[in-house]
Symmetry: C2
Subunit: 141 residues, 2 copies
């Protein structure tokens, strides 16, 4: 099993970082404009790309305001199916350190390496969004 | 041991991608403006940040024009010391797929996760540079 890990410090409160990860409005600002996300544990989150020819589907496993978001991925993309996405927020004096892990990859394939690069770009986009530099979403039709 | 892997497809020829990785001028455009890189195998490459308070020092192990660049990292940062950086270029119909690996990390620590995020951002910056979007270097004093 392989785990992709990222970490970035953001000049924004844990509550603001949490809102960017746990709400549909927040997620639409930095990942994909085609995001549909429930607000409750046990609900669904879906991330569409290229007119929904690719959709990453998640079950919302944990929502701990200001601290932690966990999703499990199911269906559609065979390499993402069964992976667990965990966002952990650590308060700092002037912001929040944001840890991200996508665990349970069966192997670090070429596709996994491509996703790893995209996650790195997304970490920057999330930071830019929360620090007011308005990067726009990674994907918009 | 842990290996960081990235992959991105760039609309540029393998020779142009190679020049961005194997020449001082190319490296200064997307990584750090404070790059000093020899042009020969056995030579050195140094990447300075924050007025050289941090320097990543490499020995150039392989240079295969249009195909492959390998560096070994030594000294200074204890977590980078002993890591191997390998850039492999695969020609595609309309460009080049660029594989990057930094191997021999002792563990995937928080610093490793932070570097992984930065490598993701750097992959985008390299792509933007080679596709003419002039992102500037990641680090400039």
């Amino acid at each position: 099993m392989t785990t992709i890990k990222h970490q970035i410090t953001i000049i924004a409160s844990p509550d603001k970082v949490y809102a960017a990860l746990a709400t549909q409005t927040g997620l639409r600002h930095w990942w994909t404009a085609d995001t549909r996300a429930d607000a409750n544990v046990g609900g669904k989150a879906e991330f569409g790309f290229d007119k929904r020819s690719m959709v990453f589907r998640m079950k919302i496993e944990e929502l701990v305001p200001g601290k932690r978001v966990v999703w499990s991925c199911y269906g559609d993309h065979p390499e993402w199916d069964g992976t667990i996405l965990t966002w952990t927020l650590i308060p700092e004096q002037n912001g929040t350190t944001h840890h991200f892990a996508q665990s349970n990859w069966k192997d670090c394939t070429d596709f996994c390496a491509t996703c790893n690069s995209t996650w790195g770009e997304l970490m920057c986009r999330l930071k830019d969004y929360l620090e007011g530099r308005n990067p726009g979403p990674h994907w918009q039709e």
